[in-house]
């Protein structure tokens, strides 16, 4: 069952997208977007994992060796997590403005352009 990690990542992505599509509340859909993003982190880290290997940080007790987990995918994930939190906040600020202007945050009621 060695593709279980990848399957969980794909499932998180599709669940998050399903939540966005079927959502009745803009704030709910923004949080589902965060779930979909988490799916990509799980996929990246599963790709970089190596069995029975420690983290790619060396100290006084561990000499530098090549038998560690991949640091490149970890570097990609860690900056992405912080930056996507601020992007989520930007989307929530947009939701606040929409609530102020249109008095509703139900995506189905926001469809029509006002003329």
């Amino acid at each position: 069952m060695s593709i279980y990690g990848y399957l969980v990542a794909g499932a998180l992505l599709l669940m998050g997208s399903a939540g966005i599509v079927a959502s009745r509340n803009l704030v709910h859909s923004v949080v589902c977007l965060a779930v979909a993003q988490a799916g990509t982190y799980v996929l990246l880290l599963s790709v970089g994992y190596q069995r029975h290997s420690p983290a790619p940080v060396f100290g006084s007790t561990s000499a530098p060796t090549k038998r560690v987990v991949d640091p490149v995918v970890q570097a990609m994930c860690l900056t992405d997590i912080v930056v996507s939190a601020t992007i989520t906040s930007l989307l929530l600020a947009l939701a606040i403005q929409i609530a102020k202007r249109h008095r509703t945050i139900n995506p189905d009621e926001l469809g029509a352009l006002r003329g």
Binding site: Y4, A18, V69, A75, T79, V83, S89
Partner: protein
């Protein structure tokens, strides 16, 4: 299109994507395999520049241009939030609710933890090149710690001890410092963000060249940016309240 059509369309698309994903996953290297060519090259480059934390080396030495780009994304989204959440012309200041009382144990815990969390955050930022951590993580820890003042005290206390213009300037200063350190690389050795200053000894505090400096710049920028971000949301939710129905 109405809701039912949208959901059906999504179901068909999700089925197709799911099938493609499963086909791709079956063909990937097995989970936990030993084939990681980028890891071999990255570890070799990290040890060459005397960096004990290989992830920090990838972030601030080997792919530092990408980190500069991510930092600018963070700066831009905080500016976007500040622009979107400006008080509108007809919003009145209603002030925090006077009935909010904080339990004494919460207050004690908050006041004890606040300096501890700030020091831990500063430690995570400065030791980013020898232990897990760095500017991004430490910056978020410091920003969360400052808001313990709101949890343990009152919104007014937080307002007084958190001057927003100072943190806006801090954010810009952090981003500019990152770029300036990069320009030093151009001036001294003709490559932007090259790790040129003395490398020091592996695992020591003064090692890994420019990486501790870049960690400090990023820590300042992330902490200030997140404090400004949460401040805008707190202002909207607490200070301005909402218009009546």
């Amino acid at each position: 299109m109405n809701r039912t059509v949208r959901i059906w369309l999504f179901a068909i698309g999700a089925l197709a994507i799911g099938t493609c994903l499963v086909i791709a996953f079956v063909g990937m290297p097995s989970f936990g395999s030993t084939f990681h060519p980028y890891r071999d090259m990255a570890i070799r480059a990290a040890v060459h520049h005397a960096t004990a934390n290989a992830v920090g080396s990838v972030n601030f030495d080997q792919r530092s241009l990408d980190t500069l780009g991510e930092e600018i994304i963070l700066l831009a989204s905080v500016v976007g939030v500040a622009a979107l959440l400006r008080p509108a012309g007809d919003e009145r200041e209603s002030g925090p609710s006077p009935h909010a009382r904080v339990l004494e144990p919460t207050r004690l815990l908050g006041y004890v933890m606040l300096p501890l969390v700030l020091v831990i955050g500063a430690d995570v930022v400065t030791h980013g090149h020898v232990t897990p951590g760095g500017g991004f993580q430490g910056g978020v820890v410091v920003a969360s710690g400052v808001h313990l003042l709101y949890v343990a005290g009152s919104y007014r206390a937080l307002e007084r001890l958190r001057p927003i213009p100072l943190f806006e300037a801090g954010e810009a200063l952090g981003a500019a410092a990152f770029a300036c350190i990069g320009i030093v690389g151009v001036v001294s050795a003709s490559a932007f963000l090259l790790n040129t200053i003395g490398q020091g000894s592996f695992g020591g505090l003064f090692s890994a060249g420019t990486i501790p400096l870049l960690n400090g710049a990023v820590g300042l920028e992330v902490a200030s940016g997140i404090i400004v971000l949460i401040a805008k949301f707190l202002d909207q939710a607490i200070l301005l309240g909402g218009r009546g129905p």
